[in-house]
Structure formats: structure tokens, C-alpha cells
């Protein structure tokens, strides 16, 4: 026998209202935890995908689209830029490193990105499980998820198709060979097929040649080589003030700051997150009210019980603790159930969003915010139990025990 057992015995005594209290709280906490997991993992993934890149230079259009297409691979590119312009920017003294990328084809919906060896080896997140980096034209390495979903492995051949959705025109005459599979990163690179930029250019040069033959006579001018975008690392932070302005002044080019664009995107998402958060806080507050009403109502039925406990030697403090503990058991168990539910929901949801939106949530990561949510829930239970506990503290034993009032 102890206070916890005594408290719990009253909670089990009224299973229906107890279950309702637990559910309300667990639901509210679950939604709050889900939001924490969602916003953290989204932010985390975006931040990691941006690591090392200070500026993206691409064709004019939406700067957000430029960042989404070149770094997060969640959108289609804004267009191409002439290589000569890219070289001009790359030669600027404020630039430390540049990574040219060429996009345009995909395989089973996974984008094929042409770049150079510097890009592939510059980022510590890119690790080859086995195999070697592409050195020859038509060699490619594939991301972890690509390998999982398509079954491709080292030594296999595949052909890309034009565009980013499945069903585009296939470049059957240009088969790639897989030279390696990247380690799992949880980032955009999991869904990427990397090849040398020369490969992309090679395929399209021939492809375009074919087209030009069809439209013979219309335009026989040799096309200037193009790339999709240039990813830039600054040499000094001061470059942020100068380079974008320089780029934007060039015809057909725009510069987008990944950090700025992604925080703008998260800002849009934040509106929705805030709305759902308000909903979850209302649920938690309602659960608190539920606990308060349950305890207050039970107090009327328990006047005698409390008086007898006093008669048996329990001090006022013990009775006070008993009621407080009941509130804490409600909120503690509810909050714990909510946190577990939130993680289970994140894992299940992650399964679907991973397939549909290429943003995989994991339910197996815990965040410090959850401690605050848990403590908040405990406080709600404490506050809800406070008034009933004070009333129990003040109960007149003699009055509650005398048979006249019984």
C-alpha cells in the first residue's frame, strides 16, 4: 500500500472518465509530439542538404524552385544557363569552390544528376558502400533508396528517360552502368543518381543532334554548351553582399541563397504547423479541464473516504498529495501514451510521405522539445488537481464521518 497505489485505485474505479481523460491528453500530446518530430526532421534534412553551398546560380525563375530543384531535388529545374557564364562566375575571387550540375533526365522518377568528381567527394555525407566514383562517360553511382527501390546494383545497366516523371522518352541507345551504391544518408542524395556532367552532355548532344537532323535547315548553329546550375561555396562571408548582385545583373541568370529560400519555405510551413499546434494545445487544455472535473466530481463521492483516511492517521498533507498524485498519474500516463502515439504516428506517416513526397519521417528519433511537452503535461495535471487537492485538504473530518450527514 502506498499513495500511488491508492491514487491509481481511484483512477481504475472510474474507467470511463479515466479513459476519456487519458485519450484526450494522449491525443493532444501525440499531435504536439508529431509536430515536433515533423518540423525538426524537415528542418534538419533541409539544413543538411544545404551544407556547404552558399549560393545557387541558375536560370531566371523562382529562386525557391531553383533551390528545391538543385539541392533538395523536390522540384524541376528553372532551365539551363550557358557554361561560359558559369565559368565567368567561377573565376571570381570571392568564390572558393564551384560545382556545376546538369539535370534533365531521370530513372524511375529518381533524378540523374551530372556533376564533377569534386562534388561527389567534397561532401562527407556521400560515401560509397562499394564500387568506385564514375570516371568514364556513362558510369553512374546510385543513392541508397534508388538501389532499394529499383533493385539496381553494381555492374547493372539502366537507361535514363527524359524529364523527371516516369514515362518520359527513354534514351535507349545510351545505357548507364552502375559503378557503386552510396551509403544511406537520410538526405536528398539517397534518391539521386550521380554521373559525370560529360555523360549528361554527351547524351543530350546526340539527342539534340537527332532533333536537329529532323528539323534540318532551321538552325544549324552549333549550340553553346549549357549546365543547369552552378553551386557555389564562398571564400569569405563578404561574398554574400557582392556575388548575388553580380549574378543577377547577368542576362538570364539568377542567384538564390539556399539558407534564405529554405527559411522562407519553412516560414510558409510554419503557418500550418502553428495552426495545428494551437489545436493540439486546446486538446491538452481540455484534457486538463477533464482531469479537474473528474477529480472535483470524485471529491463529492469521496468525502467519507478522505475523512476515514484522516481518522486512520493520515495528515492533511497526505490527503493533499493523494489528490495531486491522481492528477499527476492522469497527466503522466496520458503524456507518455501521447509521446508513444506521436512517434508511432510519425513512423507510419513517414512510410507514406516517404513514398509520396520524398520526405521520410522517422519515429525513432527523440527531441529535447518532447521533454518540455512532457513537463508541460505534468504541470497541467498539477494545476488541474490543485483546487480539488486544496478542497480535500480542508475537508471537515467530523462532519463527513457523522452519520447525520451520511
Amino acid at each position: 500500500m502506498n499513495l500511488l497505489k491508492l491514487s491509481s485505485s481511484y483512477i481504475f474505479r472510474r474507467p470511463l472518465s479515466s479513459v476519456l481523460n487519458f485519450l484526450l491528453l494522449a491525443f493532444g500530446i501525440g499531435v504536439a509530439v508529431l509536430l515536433v518530430i515533423f518540423s525538426n526532421q524537415l528542418e534538419n534534412r533541409f539544413k543538411h542538404d544545404l551544407t556547404g553551398i552558399d549560393l545557387v546560380v541558375g536560370a531566371k525563375g523562382s529562386p525557391l524552385q531553383l533551390v528545391l530543384s538543385t539541392l533538395l531535388h523536390l522540384d524541376i529545374p528553372t532551365g539551363n544557363i550557358p557554361e561560359s557564364a558559369a565559368i565567368k562566375i567561377a573565376e571570381n575571387k570571392l568564390v572558393w569552390r564551384v560545382y556545376p550540375i546538369a539535370l534533365g533526365d531521370s530513372y524511375h522518377g529518381f533524378p540523374i544528376m551530372g556533376t564533377d568528381l569534386l562534388y561527389m567527394t567534397a561532401f562527407s555525407s556521400l560515401n560509397l558502400e562499394e564500387g568506385y566514383w564514375p570516371t568514364q562517360t556513362m558510369e553512374a553511382i546510385i543513392g541508397y533508396e534508388v538501389a532499394q527501390k529499383t533493385g539496381l546494383k553494381k555492374g547493372d545497366h539502366f537507361t535514363g528517360s527524359h524529364g523527371f516523371s516516369e514515362g518520359g522518352e527513354e534514351h535507349k541507345e545510351f545505357p548507364y552502368i552502375v559503378t557503386g551504391v552510396l551509403d544511406q544518408t537520410g538526405l536528398a542524395s539517397d534518391r539521386l543518381i550521380l554521373t559525370k556532367i560529360e555523360t549528361v552532355r554527351y547524351i543530350h548532344a546526340h539527342h539534340d543532334d537527332d532533333e536537329e537532323n529532323v528539323h534540318a535547315g532551321k538552325n544549324n548553329k552549333k549550340k553553346e554548351p549549357e549546365i543547369t546550375a552552378l553551386l557555389i561555396s564562398y571564400k569569405t562571408p563578404a561574398a554574400a553582399n557582392i556575388l548575388p548582385r553580380l549574378v543577377n545583373a547577368m542576362p538570364g541568370l539568377q542567384a538564390a541563397s539556399p539558407a534564405f529560400e529554405v527559411s522562407r519555405l519553412l516560414g510558409f510551413l510554419g503557418l500550418g504547423i502553428d495552426t495545428v499546434a494551437v489545436l493540439s494545445y486546446s486538446l491538452i487544455a481540455m484534457a486538463g479541464l477533464g482531469i479537474f472535473i473528474t477529480l472535483l466530481k470524485s471529491l463529492r463521492e469521496r468525502g467519507h473516504d478522505i475523512a476515514i483516511m484522516r481518522a486512520l492517521g493520515a495528515g492533511r498533507g497526505k490527503i493533499f498529495s493523494l489528490l495531486i498524485l491522481e492528477g499527476l498519474v492522469y497527466s503522466g500516463v496520458g503524456a507518455l501514451a501521447g509521446i508513444i502515439a506521436g512517434h508511432v504516428a510519425a513512423e507510419i506517416l513517414g512510410h507514406f510521405t516517404g513514398q509520396a513526397h520524398h520526405i521520410a519521417l522517422s519515429g525513432f528519433v527523440f527531441y529535447s522539445e518532447e521533454i518540455y511537452i512532457f513537463c508541460g503535461a505534468i504541470c497541467i495535471g498539477l494545476i488541474a488537481a490543485l483546487i480539488p487537492a486544496i478542497m480535500a485538504y480542508r475537508i471537515d473530518i467530523a462532519k463527513n464521518l457523522s452519520h447525520e450527514s451520511a
Binding site: 502506498n2 491508492l6 486512520l312
Partner: protein
């Protein structure tokens, strides 16, 4: 052992009763007779440390119990006084044995399960130790309440109208049980009742 000194109590300025001096020696029993509303329960509450009298003092051995702090008085009551109320007031969410252990726990004593078994056995309730109050007959519930009052081996057992709801036969057996259990443990039994059937069991009586 228990001494009442110049006790008077009433409600709204009207004195309900007053007792100049009353002493109960260790192991002696007392019957408080009186009609409904004569203040029997009030007097029991005063004796039991549950209700501070308007005037007077209650001495338990050498302690004036109303001069103690609230907490000390609660503790003293838990350790020295066992209560059996007319409404039995078993805790409905706890089993028979848990109700007994609760008495140990709330008095701050070690929870003595074997002692509980012994008492339940003596009262013929051992088979009901895991039953809940709602599944007990009135007689079983009353014996459970008696068992609970005995759990902390009190010096005094206070019983309020223990027999008023019983037929003649049960009335006699319950009061005999109470007296024999109290006597065996060298414990004073103080019974308040309007039930004249039991007055012959008590050589010491007062009437309010």
C-alpha cells in the same frame, strides 16, 4: 489512560453537553448511551481527536491531544485509536486486505500482512481477503471494519452505533466479538449507542 477534563461542546452558542471529568483506565470499556442528537458522535469525535472541543482538554496518557500540532495529532490518532463507524467507511477501491494495510500505511507503520491474516482469521474473514467491499455482506463488511480498527494494535477502539442496524442475535454476537477482541489486546472499547440492548455488556456507562 484516557482523561476528559471540563469538556463542553455545542453548536451555535448552545451547549450540547458538558462533562466535568471522565477517566477510562487501560483495558476498561465504556458505553455512552444517549438518544439521537444528544451529541454521542460529537463526543466520540472529540475523544478520537477528530474534533476540537469548544472547551476542555483530552489527555491520552500524558498528552493533551488538542495541544498537539495537527500533524502530530493525526499521527497519534492513527497509532493509538481504532475507529469503527456506523457507516462502515471501507475504502471501496481497495480489497479487504488492502483496507487493513491502509491503516498501517496511513498511521506510518510498517505494513504487516501476517498480522492482517491473523486478525482476518480470528474474525472468520480469511477467505475474503481479496474481496472488494461491494461484494461483502453487511456482517462481513462490519467485521472488516473491526479488523481494520485492530490493525495498528490501538490502545482505544471507538465504535459509533455498531449494533443499531442489526437484529438481536447479530447484535449480541457483534458486541461480544468487539469486547473479546478488545479485551484480548488489553485495549479500551468505547461504544456510543442509543441501543439499550447492549447496555448489560458494559459495567461502565454514561448517559448523555
Amino acid at each position: 489512560m484516557l482523561e476528559l477534563e471540563g469538556i463542553s461542546h455545542g453548536f451555535g452558542g448552545k451547549a450540547l453537553f458538558s462533562i466535568d471529568r471522565l477517566e477510562i483506565l487501560g483495558g476498561k470499556h465504556l458505553l455512552i448511551l444517549g438518544k439521537s442528537g444528544s451529541g454521542k458522535t460529537t463526543l466520540l469525535n472529540i475523544i478520537g481527536g477528530l474534533l476540537r472541543p469548544a472547551k476542555g482538554a483530552v489527555w491520552l496518557e500524558k498528552t493533551n491531544i488538542y495541544s498537539l500540532t495537527n500533524n502530530a495529532r493525526d499521527k497519534l490518532r492513527g497509532l493509538n485509536i481504532g475507529f469503527i463507524f456506523q457507516k462502515l467507511h471501507l475504502i471501496p477501491t481497495l480489497s479487504v486486505m488492502e483496507n487493513l494495510l491502509l491503516a498501517n500505511y496511513l498511521a506510518g507503520k510498517k505494513q504487516n500482512r501476517p498480522h492482517g491474516w491473523k486478525i482476518l482469521e480470528a474474525l472468520g474473514l480469511k477467505h475474503k481477503k481479496n474481496a472488494y467491499p461491494e461484494n461483502l455482506s453487511f456482517g462481513e463488511a462490519q467485521r472488516t471494519a473491526i479488523a481494520r480498527a485492530l490493525m495498528n494494535e490501538p490502545k482505544i477502539i471507538i465504535a459509533d452505533e455498531p449494533t443499531s442496524a442489526l437484529d438481536d442475535e447479530s447484535c449480541a454476537s457483534v458486541i461480544q466479538l468487539l469486547i473479546s477482541e478488545a479485551s484480548q489486546r488489553n485495549c479500551s472499547l468505547i461504544v456510543a449507542t442509543h441501543d439499550h440492548r447492549i447496555k448489560d455488556f458494559f459495567p461502565d456507562r454514561i448517559t448523555l
